[in-house]
């Protein structure tokens, strides 16, 4: 694990407008995500964890402050550029899997690889990408489920496909929003094991929002948010007194 920050935010503010009243959600967050680490984001409901994750994932733009990816300010880039960065540099895993119901397991996994190329370019690289996606799904234990639609799969299997989809493009950072939140205890444990195994073997950086103590305890560092502010960043083996 390197100590250089791959993703960082400086003085990050976000507020939404309810009617005419601005409602602050994040109040000046400064945070670094180091390359190869698993960073946990914890906090009570409404603390701003998901909002921070969306801002780090370039799905939303901050009201103030900046997000840096490999030292470059990416939050001020245009929509097209941010979309391209999301496609190349970031991966997402959501609590409710968010798979496309019309596509098979293999189709869902391949989708990020199909976003950039035109159809005729895709025909040239299709074979290579399919082989990679197959290998990834096989590694995640889904070799027999390649042609199945999401509706034909269990929750754990769907989340594995979501993980495979996030990993296909070898992203710099994978952002996970409560990846075990919709799974039973045993399946949740399997998914946790899988994420840490990938981190160990490939050095993939993870930012994980979770309420699951078992998961949080295994993270390398944990950032705790309270009322839109960063309360503490600590080693989960030595948690600060709350």
């Amino acid at each position: 694990m390197s100590s250089s920050p791959i993703l960082a935010c400086v003085d990050l503010h976000k507020s939404y407008t309810m009617g005419r009243v601005p409602v602050p959600v994040l109040n000046g967050i400064d945070l670094e995500v180091r390359e190869g680490e698993v960073l946990g984001l914890v906090g009570a409901s409404g603390a701003g964890k998901s909002t921070l994750l969306h801002l780090l994932g370039l799905l939303d733009v901050p009201s103030r402050g900046a997000v840096y990816l490999r030292g470059e300010d990416v939050s001020s880039k245009g929509g097209q550029r941010r979309s391209a960065l999301r496609n190349r540099e970031l991966g997402f895993v959501f609590q409710f899997y968010h798979l496309i119901s019309e596509l098979s397991a293999l189709g869902n996994t391949l989708l990020p690889a199909m976003v950039a190329p035109r159809p005729w370019t895709w025909l040239l690289q299709r074979g290579r990408e399919r082989a990679r996606a197959r290998a990834l799904l096989t590694r995640l234990g889904l070799s027999a489920r390649l042609s199945h639609l999401p509706a034909q799969l269990s929750g754990g299997e769907r989340q594995r496909i979501a993980i495979a989809r996030a990993l296909l493009g070898n992203p710099s950072v994978v952002l996970c929003d409560e990846p075990t939140g919709n799974l039973d205890s045993r399946t949740g444990q399997e998914i946790m094991d899988l994420l840490f195994e990938i981190n160990r073997e490939q050095g993939t950086t993870f930012v994980i929002v979770s309420h699951d103590d078992r998961l949080v305890r295994r993270c390398h560092r944990v950032a705790r948010l309270a009322d839109g502010s960063l309360e503490a960043v600590y080693n989960p083996q030595q948690p600060p007194a709350s």
Binding site: L59, Q80, S83, R86, R88, F94, H98, I100, P112, M114
Partner: protein, 524 residues
């Protein structure tokens, strides 16, 4: 100000080339939803109807133009003597004058006599094999010269005397004799002439005479001669039907006679107390039928040999061989402007070379100008009205896409997270609109062309199995339903529909692209 899609020119360019994910998802979203197939069906039906209707209208216009042109010839020259009662101009002099005009084919200058008559009765002769092995002819009882007239059922007809050899070059009379081959129809019975090179020949090469010998003798025993004539197939059918009403139950067939009640131009003009009509009966024996495909012509016209008609029907005493009422000409020039100039030239040449007469010249377009313009106008109006079908199909597609945007809101968020830009989301829903339209257009085009190509078979099928009369030849001027798809019209239909589909998919696509990714991901 930063535009949501970046540089508008590069955005427009990118919009034309969707990504692989857009094509895949667009196709999957469409093919997995029955409501999208309903939209496809809407476009398919719209395109099909437009192609069929415009093809039928196009067929009508072309058929009418061809029919009018070929039956009337390119130019029709009539004459008016400056002195009342003067004989017709010298045919040889007229021919010679016309031969000087290079655009006129000298072989296709044909004199005609157009006259009118009533069909007063029918004579049906039956040829039977007698016990002695020879053929004998018998006349069917009741089939007399005035059998129709006595029942007030005389039929009007137009008698046209032609010089077949030259007329076939100037008009479509030669083609009309083969009409039974070119326009097969269940509506009438055709009786092809025995000799296509000599339609007025009453001898059949295979089995001899069409008529009893005494009817074929000319100018002997003071008997009236039966003139060989070719009847319009619909006229023959009318005679058959009238004969039935007159209790004559034998078929009116090739070799049967009709008696014409008429007068003559000489009798009209030489009446002692001005124009008095002296009627006379003349017999015409049917050597066969013709079909131009134009019902109006095929139900009224009898073709006779011009010289025979002048001598025996009109009883022209002075130079009957040179008697004519009009000339039909074939011109090399076909376009509207040149033919107008040519008509003027013909008139001036004739009036200079053949003094004492004026020569009004009309073109085939002039003869039926109102009819041609009306049909062309109807075609355009029909296409315009039918475009509303595309409007309905477009609204149908708009509704489908609008619903899909709502249904797929979360997918918009997922795709955004995967790196699809707003332009990509816009492109996805536009692509779906394009897919719906293209599939509909392909299906509609195939269906439409199949119907256009097989419209006669479909019409016959509907008639035979369901008794549904899709096309009534007695109402229209044709005896068949013409349909001809025109490449330019079909292209306009397909391109207009395609452009309309882009307009109809734009609003749902913009709505989808405007969705915020985070809100879309949280959509329940």
């Amino acid at each position: 100000m930063r535009l949501p899609f970046g540089n508008p020119f590069s955005a427009a360019l990118r919009l034309c080339f969707p990504s692989a994910s857009t094509v895949l998802l667009g196709f999957r979203y469409i093919t997995t939803r029955w409501i999208a197939w309903l939209s496809v069906l809407g476009f398919a039906v719209g395109i099909l109807v437009l192609i069929v209707v415009t093809s039928v209208m196009n067929g009508f216009v072309k058929e009418i133009r061809t029919s009018i042109r070929s039956s009337l010839s390119d130019l029709i020259v009539r004459y008016q003597p400056h002195e009342k009662g003067a004989p017709p101009p010298d045919l040889a002099a007229v021919r010679e004058a016309l031969s000087e005009i290079p655009e006129i084919d000298p072989e296709a200058i044909s004199p005609r006599i157009t006259w009118f008559a009533l069909i007063a009765g029918v004579g049906i002769n039956l040829r039977r094999l007698a016990p002695n092995g020879a053929f004998e002819w018998t006349r069917v009882t009741g089939a007399e010269a005035d059998s129709f007239l006595r029942r007030d059922e005389a039929l009007f007809c137009q008698v046209i005397g032609i010089d077949f050899d030259t007329d076939r070059r100037a008009t479509n009379v030669g083609t009309a004799l083969r009409g039974f081959e070119q326009r097969p129809t269940r509506h009438v019975t055709d009786y092809p002439v025995p000799d296509i090179e000599d339609p007025f020949c009453v001898k059949r090469p295979a089995d001899g005479a069409l008529l009893p010998d005494q009817l074929l003798r000319r100018g002997e025993d003071g008997e009236r001669n039966a003139m060989p004539g070719v009847l319009g197939a619909w006229l023959a059918a009318k005679i058959q039907s009238t004969a039935r009403q007159a209790d004559i139950n034998e078929f009116f067939h090739r070799g049967c006679e009709i008696s014409l009640l008429t007068s003559s131009p000489e009798r009209l003009s030489s009446g002692a107390q001005g124009a008095t009509l002296t009627q006379s009966y003349r017999s015409v024996v049917m050597t066969g039928t013709f079909r131009t495909g134009t019902y109006d012509l095929d139900k009224d016209i009898i073709f006779l040999d011009r010289r025979d008609m002048a001598r025996n029907l009109l009883e022209i005493r002075k130079d009957p061989d040179g008697y004519f009422t009009e000339l039909v000409l074939k011109a090399e020039t076909l376009d509207d402007e040149h033919s107008r100039e040519l008509a003027r030239l013909v008139r001036q040449t004739l009036e200079r070379k053949v003094p004492g007469y004026s020569f009004p010249v009309s073109r085939w377009q002039d003869e039926r100008r109102n009819q041609l313009e009306a049909i062309d106008y109807e075609k355009k109006m029909m296409a315009f009205i039918l475009m509303f079908i595309i409007l309905v199909a477009g609204i149908n597609m708009f509704t489908t896409l609008w619903m899909l945007v709502t249904e797929k809101t979360r997918d918009v968020g997922i795709l955004s997270a995967l790196g699809v830009s707003r332009l990509g989301i816009l492109q996805l829903f536009l692509t779906m609109g394009v897919f719906i339209t293209l599939i509909g257009e392909v299906l509609g085009f195939i269906g439409g062309m199949l119907i256009v190509e097989n419209i006669a078979a479909i019409e016959t099928f509907l008639w035979e199995y369901f008794g549904f009369k899709m096309f009534d030849p007695t109402v229209y001027i044709f005896d068949h339903l013409p349909a001809e798809a025109e490449a330019s019209t079909v292209t306009v239909i397909l391109v207009t529909t395609f452009l309309a589909s882009i307009v109809f998919s734009a609003a749902p696509a913009i709505r989808a692209a405007a969705k915020h990714p985070v809100q879309a991901l949280r959509y329940e």
